[in-house]
């Protein structure tokens, strides 16, 4: 069934709205869970909304220059763009966004769009600690990309396609068809990469609070910070949806999507609560050891 471009745009925007709100709530829930693990009462789950409104409502603002100004725009474009290129709900023509423009390689490389813009913006901020954070982030990302790429190669070969939609399609028909069970090595490698991508402990030295005050966004505040926060919530959901599509059979309804992506994201939070922090050089080496082995196994036994 073909739908008009306008419908498509409207549904995509609606999807974005849903994801944005879900992301904010999910962030609240996750923080609540972390608080409960620590034995605290924790924030109200709508706290992310308040924080966001507060940041947008700041009265003063400074700018270090054009690139500093554009940094959050790049970052948020990266997040929203990634959302637009990922199919959300399997089987529905309305929730495919613009995923027909490219395939998983587009998604892999589009991740960098926001990162690069943010890095440049923070760079113009001139805070040396931001650049330390960026250098750590980029370094960590290179290592994370290895198992991720191997996992993607593996499932691309497994399903004979690079299209995310087709990969989801191939996993339909029961839980036994999920990549999780048909190609466990790829999933292990991929989920390791997911931990690195989400930057929870033990891989959160990039933004190490207090140490380098907060890494790349040290100079960002007010509306900029609001945009970065908005991006963060969208991006977390989108990344989780991507991994859901690749490894966990995708979703045929919003409910399924919310449940699955919640648990996928929860894995990183769970591990983050349990483990201490790695230094960057440890992270790089670690990703080139165990996850790499699983990645290689994944492409060898596909």
């Amino acid at each position: 069934m073909e739908i008009s471009l306008l419908t498509k745009i409207l549904f995509s925007l609606l999807g974005l709205f849903i994801v944005f709100n879900y992301g904010l709530l999910q962030a609240g829930v996750m923080r609540k869970i972390v608080a409960r693990v620590a034995g605290r009462y924790g924030i109200p789950i709508y706290q992310p909304y308040i924080d966001l409104i507060k940041n947008y409502s700041k009265r003063t603002q400074i700018t270090h220059g054009v690139m500093f100004y554009l940094g959050p725009v790049f970052r948020f474009s990266g997040g929203i763009g990634l959302f637009f290129f990922i199919p959300m709900i399997y089987g529905s023509v309305y929730w495919q966004n613009f995923s027909f423009s490219g395939d998983i390689i587009l998604l892999m490389y589009f991740q960098f769009f926001g990162m690069l813009g943010m890095a440049l913006g923070a760079g113009e901020g001139g805070q040396p600690n931001s650049i330390i954070g960026i250098s750590r982030g980029l370094a960590q990302f290179t290592a994370v990309e290895v198992p991720f790429t191997l996992a993607i190669i593996s499932i691309a070969v497994q399903y004979d396609t690079l299209s995310v939609y087709d990969i989801v399609a191939a996993q339909q028909g029961g839980i036994q068809n999920w990549t999780l069970f048909t190609n466990p090595f790829a999933v292990i490698a991929g989920m390791f990469a997911f931990l690195g991508l989400m930057r929870h402990a033990p891989f959160n030295v990039v933004m190490a609070p207090q140490e380098i005050p907060i890494g790349p966004p040290t100079e960002y505040h007010s509306t900029y910070l609001g945009m970065l926060q908005s991006n963060r919530v969208v991006l977390h959901i989108v990344e989780a949806v991507l991994f859901m599509n690749l490894f966990f059979g995708g979703a045929t309804s919003w409910l399924e999507l919310i449940i699955k992506s919640f648990f996928i994201y929860f894995i990183t939070v769970f591990i983050g609560v349990v483990f201490p922090r790695y230094r960057v050089d440890h992270t790089v080496r670690w990703f080139l050891k165990i996850p790499l082995v699983f990645g290689i196994l994944a492409v060898l036994f596909v």
């Binding site: 924030i43 109200p44 409104i53």
Partner: protein
């Protein structure tokens, strides 16, 4: 280099051998004065104030001995998060500055700098007697006696030291004040900028920074 030396004017040589003067204070820093900001439409402002009151981001910096009372706030027993209070490591993102106890002159300079780097609206909570009247250090040669000579204070929390419970109640008081629209310390600072600066410069002999740290 230390002190004022690195802020002196200097001649530098460009890549083509041309000589020119660099005046760090003017060239490195923005020399604009702070401006009074106007609130939005009252209804919107009310909504904003509600959000500001429920999202208090505290600059994670202890200035005096009272800072020892802050970490317990994050523990299960006191758990400040439930009030929407959390620590931020950078003044750019923080909106509440807790002056935790006595302020040495040396520290005051840093406090002023950090305060000015926070974006408005911003709030100051002064902790302990020292910030009110100097406390046990009232006659010290190098601590200040009254904080509000140097920056507008929203809430004072008395005690030496105030316990975490007191701090929590201070937060509640601050929330109330913000919701009432009285949390305009930033504007006050801008309005009485000259006065505050004069006070600050009176006590800080080695003034090695621009008048306002953006």
């Amino acid at each position: 280099m230390s002190g004022l030396d690195d802020l002196k004017k200097k001649m530098v040589t460009g890549p083509d051998g041309e000589q020119f003067e660099v005046n760090p204070i003017n060239d490195y820093y923005c020399s604009k004065k702070p401006e009074v900001t106007t609130p939005a439409h009252p209804y919107i402002e009310k909504f904003f104030n509600w959000a500001r009151a429920n999202s208090l981001w505290v600059l994670g910096w202890g200035t005096g001995c009272g800072s020892i009372e802050l970490p317990p706030l994050t523990t299960p027993r006191f758990d400040m998060y439930r009030y929407g209070v959390q620590m931020r490591p950078t003044p750019r993102q923080a909106c509440v500055f807790i002056i935790s106890g006595y302020l040495a002159v040396k520290t005051l300079k840093r406090v002023i700098r950090a305060y000015e780097q926070m974006q408005g609206p911003k709030f100051v909570i002064a902790l302990g007697s020292c910030t009110i009247n100097g406390g046990m250090y009232y006659d010290s040669y190098n601590t200040i006696n009254r904080l509000d000579y140097y920056m507008p204070v929203d809430v004072y929390i008395a005690g030496c030291m105030p316990r975490p419970e007191a701090i929590l109640s201070g937060f509640v008081a601050l929330k109330k004040r913000i919701k009432e629209g009285k949390g305009e310390g930033a504007n006050e600072y801008a309005e009485k900028f000259e006065w505050y600066k004069a006070n600050q410069k009176k006590i800080i002999k080695q003034w090695d920074m621009p008048d306002y740290n953006w």
